[in-house]
């Protein structure tokens, strides 16, 4: 080609390229303009298929008998004393008010109250006035027992959490901030790992018995003697930090000037505390208590691992029914449980939004040094704080330390036998056996996959709800459903729906199995935490910023990318940390969905090992702890801040 020819050829190529570039640019702009709505639609689709469909499947299962609708399953459950205790009679014959009242009066008449002097400390003759209330036994049934243990757990959590809130909000000491941000940690620790930790602490060969053995006591069978107490302690391990966290936040937002005003008007320090501070703390404590009750009502891995069927809660019993392939009964129980937990969650959300106006800024209360000098350190108040600190260390640090310790000891001394077992199983185990490496790999893979699904979902839901006003609350409530539906219920729904396959018109089947089903389950469990972390930051952004960007020519989607996302990055990082941690620790639905020899995760592996020998389970639990801790260290470096 001659030079002019070549240049004209080049020109036409350039023209052609430019035209294509313009077409693509135009396409990109169009896509960009609709990107937010497309993502929202995708999120809605995921929610419908992966959340509402499974829950719907469970519901249908509960009201169908051989293809025809029936309420028989519910009637069976509600009139069976095994499930609902003494309420069975009431449900069976609600009109017979007379006889119900008579039995209630009979019960009240049998209550006896006695006051006596007791000598509770053996060998010490100090009499203590002892008030004893004797109540005749009440048959509570499965639901009653579940509520009973949840109530006890709530009391324990509040009792353990409030002193922590007091210390964190009022005293300054090294590590206060760290400790305050650590209060979120227990909440995302894998339940099965915590259970194993308590096992390592209170079990026959546990650390507590080793310590007692040194001074010549024991060994005691703590778990066997009173499994309920250990379960409740484990629940307090989870929820006391939550109570503390919520209360500290409220305490710190109490305007110091309000207290000072009360003092200047003549109130004593005590009186000002009662009249100004307590009314502002009460809603927070109640919120914490309500959340604790909801969570412990739906408890599963803790009870399964520490109490077994002997202490069965509704959730454990549902799991047992699923194992026995009794899906109809499992579904009926699941629906009843979900109705109860939804009701409680609704109450919580209502209460929370009613208190929303309480948040205020002002001069925050002052903290004083915890141990300024030796004399103050010996005051009764400081001594009480030290005593509480010891209890807290035993309850919170004990199980985790015991877990690590228990993995390298065997009652007599140091050993690597437990890890050797894992290694051996990895190297020589057959494919149908549970091996550690696939469990770790699966956990990490599922965790990462969960991030990629849950983070965009959570962010889009935040964006849609924060600015949508009244319709936003509806979306918010619908989207927060996973918090109120237990993993077990959700697992059954996925199993019965997507894993077994849903027939579609035209002979197609919608079927999702194995790893994908697990990731979906994890993502649905995790995205509310992304939303909860992102929404507060998003709603504190000046809406004029997005409007400025749009007036300058940015589409809504570009404004999201350029303005909102960079400013809510810390919330997204924290949400991602939660999503990852939730996925790593998720047990309830994973244990149902993980089919035999593949797609089992670390928590499932822990549970499988625990069934036979505790040593390897403790070692596996330690590995789980290491992975969880590592993920949080990484997130902390990136600068996440945690909200709940």
């Amino acid at each position: 080609m001659s030079p002019p020819e070549r240049s004209s050829a080049l020109d036409s190529v350039r023209h052609w390229l430019e035209r294509w570039y313009r077409v693509l640019e135009c396409l990109r702009r169009r896509l960009e303009r609709r990107a937010l709505w497309l993502t929202a639609l995708a999120t809605a689709a995921v929610l419908v298929v992966m959340l509402y469909l499974p829950v719907g499947v469970v519901f249908v299962e509960a009201v169908l008998e051989e293809g025809s609708p029936t309420l028989g399953h519910f009637a069976d459950v509600l009139t069976d004393p095994f499930y609902v205790g003494f309420l069975a009679d009431v449900v069976a014959d609600p009109v017979a008010v007379g006889s119900h009242l008579a039995s209630l009066l009979g019960w009240l008449g049998a209550v006896s109250v006695s006051l006596s002097l007791e000598y509770p400390i053996p060998g010490v003759g100090v009499p203590v006035p002892w008030l004893a209330v004797e109540t005749p036994g009440v048959r509570m049934g499965l639901f009653g027992f579940t509520a009973y243990q949840a109530a006890l757990s709530t009391v324990a959590s509040v009792a353990l959490g409030l002193p922590a809130a007091y210390v964190l909000a009022n005293y300054e000491f090294a590590g206060r901030r760290t400790l305050r941000s650590l209060t979120i940690l227990p909440f995302v620790l894998p339940g099965i790992m915590v259970a194993v930790g308590f096992y390592a602490m209170f079990g026959h060969a546990g650390t507590l018995n080793s310590v007692l053995g040194v001074i010549g006591l024991g060994p005691f069978a703590f778990i066997e003697a009173n499994p309920l107490a250990i379960v409740i302690l484990a629940h307090a391990f989870y929820n006391a930090p939550l109570v503390a966290r919520i209360t500290v936040a409220a305490w710190e937002s109490v305007d110091r000037r309000a207290v000072e005003t009360a003092r200047s008007l003549g109130a004593s320090e005590r009186r000002a505390f009662r009249d100004v501070v307590v009314p502002q703390l009460a809603p927070a404590v109640l919120t914490g208590a309500l959340l604790t009750f909801i969570f412990t009502f739906m408890t599963f891995p803790i009870v399964l691992a520490l109490g077994g069927l002997q202490l069965a809660t509704v959730e454990v019993w549902i799991y047992d029914r699923v194992q026995r392939l009794d899906y109809a009964e499992a579904a009926t129980l699941a629906i009843l449980e979900t109705i109860l937990s939804l009701g409680l969650t609704y109450a919580y959300l209502r209460y929370e939004s009613a208190q929303a106006g309480f948040a205020r800024t002002g001069s925050t209360s002052e903290t004083e040094p915890l141990f300024p000098d030796v004399r103050t350190a010996l005051s009764p108040e400081r001594l009480a704080i030290v005593a509480y600190g010891l209890v807290a260390v035993i309850v919170f640090v004990g199980p985790m330390a015991s877990l690590v310790l228990g993995s390298v000891t065997d009652g007599t001394g140091f050993t690597l036998r437990n890890y050797a077992f894992l290694l051996e199983r990895q190297l020589e185990g057959t494919t149908f056996q549970t091996r550690p490496l696939p469990a770790i790999r699966n956990s990490l893979l599922f965790g990462l996959a969960t991030l990629f699904v849950a983070v965009p979902m959570g962010v889009v839901i935040s964006v849609l709800t924060v600015r949508a006003g009244r319709s936003g609350t509806v979306v918010d409530t619908l989207a927060m459903l996973p918090l109120a539906v237990s993993g077990i219920v959700f697992g059954i729904g996925l199993l019965q729906g997507l894993v077994f396959g849903v027939p579609l018109p035209g002979g197609w089947r919608l079927q999702v199995t194995g790893a994908i089903a697990i990731v979906i389950a994890h993502a649905v469990a995790a995205y509310p935490f992304v939303t909860r972390n992102v929404s507060p930051l998003l709603s504190s952004l000046d809406p004029a910023m997005v409007e400025s960007a749009r007036a300058l020519g940015a589409s809504r989607y570009r404004a999201l990318l350029d303005v909102e996302l960079p400013l809510i990055a810390s919330g997204i990082v924290a949400g991602a940390a939660f999503a990852f941690a939730i996925s790593i620790g998720e047990f309830s639905s994973t244990v149902i969905l993980a089919s035999g020899s593949e797609s089992y995760t670390m928590p499932v592996a822990v549970e499988r090992y625990l069934g036979r020998r505790s040593g390897p389970a403790i070692a596996m639990g330690t590995l789980l702890l290491a992975v969880t801790a590592a993920s949080f260290v990484v997130i902390d470096r990136v600068g996440g801040r945690y909200e709940l």
């Binding site: 000046d542 004029a544 400025s548 749009r550 007036a551 300058l552 020519g553 940015a554 570009r558 350029d562």
Partner: protein, 348 residues
């Protein structure tokens, strides 16, 4: 450049039954290159009007057009408007230069300049040359406001919309920024809509202004007209200090009409022949101690020393009265006004 026209613009929130009306049937034309101000108390609909122009709100009824082009349904990013908010709304994660240059990603810089030159040009325009690398939180309130203005002007928009841009600043700074804004606006000859609740500011900067109340336009006109000839009682009371009296017509002699207010007779001029009741207003500066007609004795309640004058709030015949005097008064002061110094407004 651009003429802005609003025709029958209404905005209702909520459903018909329990909804609230933010704007009812607003008709308005802002001329090319004009500095036009919407002024009124909070909740009068001035910000809603501005947001409807910018495209942040769609009117329930009516149309907004730029140079005859209908804008209904056009999203804000395609309206080519520059907006400055009271809260500045600077992007805190971007430098000053990045803020100013943000809109140039979407619209070509005018006059063949490149992005960098345009940003420098704008920073110079608002006296912030060399501040480009700073982060917005290193700037003072007044500087932030100027960055927001530069950012809005950078893509050379057809319209400049300012939503209470000075309210967060202190009085002195507000005045100097106001002068700067006025200078820039007349230099660029850009059609500007300015929203404020401060009537003094509105009178000082505008070519024309619209006084709004309850989602309606009360009066539109140049500052002198709004101040000197308020059309309604609301405008009379809202713009500047004023004394409004309701009276009954008694007797007419030529141009002069005798009216009665609470048993006291005033002489007014040019009262319409068919009126039996009138409302008239007298500005404080028209009430003087030297005037020998229409004299009233006012019991002084408070006196504010303003430097050159003293503003006196007092009471006459159970009617609040505001005066402007040259010296601090005693317990009572007698003032009057010449017939014709009053202005008639709509009777309420």
């Amino acid at each position: 450049m651009t003429e802005l026209r609003l025709e029958g613009v209404s905005k209702r929130y909520g459903t018909d039954g329990d909804g609230t009306t933010a704007l009812s049937s607003v008709d308005l034309t802002v001329r090319d290159g004009e500095f036009f101000t919407l002024v009124g108390p909070s909740g009068c609909g001035k910000t809603t009007t501005l947001r409807a122009i910018a495209g942040f709100e769609e009117p329930t009824e009516g149309s907004v057009s730029f140079d005859g082009t209908e804008m209904t349904g056009v999203p804000p990013e395609r309206r080519d408007v520059g907006v400055v908010f009271q809260s500045y709304a600077l992007f805190p994660h971007m430098s000053v230069a990045e803020n100013v240059g943000y809109g140039l990603q979407f619209r070509e810089p005018p006059g063949g300049t490149n992005e960098e030159e345009r940003v420098a040009e704008l920073l110079e325009l608002v006296d912030l040359s060399g501040m480009g690398e700073r982060s917005p939180d290193q700037l003072s309130g007044g500087q932030r406001q100027r960055v927001a203005l530069a950012r809005a002007l950078a893509p050379a928009p057809d319209l400049l919309l300012l939503d209470e841009p000075m309210s967060a600043l202190d009085a002195r700074l507000r005045e100097s920024l106001r002068r700067q804004l006025k200078r820039i606006q007349s230099e660029l000859e850009i059609t500007t809509v300015y929203v404020t609740h401060d009537q003094e500011e509105a009178l000082a900067v505008s070519d024309r202004l619209a006084v709004m109340s309850d989602g309606r336009l009360e009066q539109v006109g140049p500052p002198q007209e709004i101040y000197g000839e308020p059309a309604t009682r609301f405008v009379a009371e809202f713009v500047g200090d004023n004394n409004v009296f309701d009276a009954t017509v008694r007797e007419r002699t030529g141009h002069t009409t005798q009216v009665d207010h609470g048993g006291r007779t005033f002489e007014l001029r040019d009262v319409p022949a068919d009126a039996s009741r009138v409302s008239f207003c007298v500005r404080p500066d028209a009430l003087s101690q030297a005037a020998d007609r229409n004299r009233i004795t006012v019991d002084v309640e408070t006196s504010e020393f303003l430097g050159e004058t003293v503003r006196v709030h007092g009471r006459w015949n159970d009617h609040a009265v505001v005066l402007r005097l040259e010296e601090m008064p005693g317990e009572a002061v007698t003032v009057g006004f010449e017939p014709g110094d009053e202005h008639l407004v709509e009777t309420s």
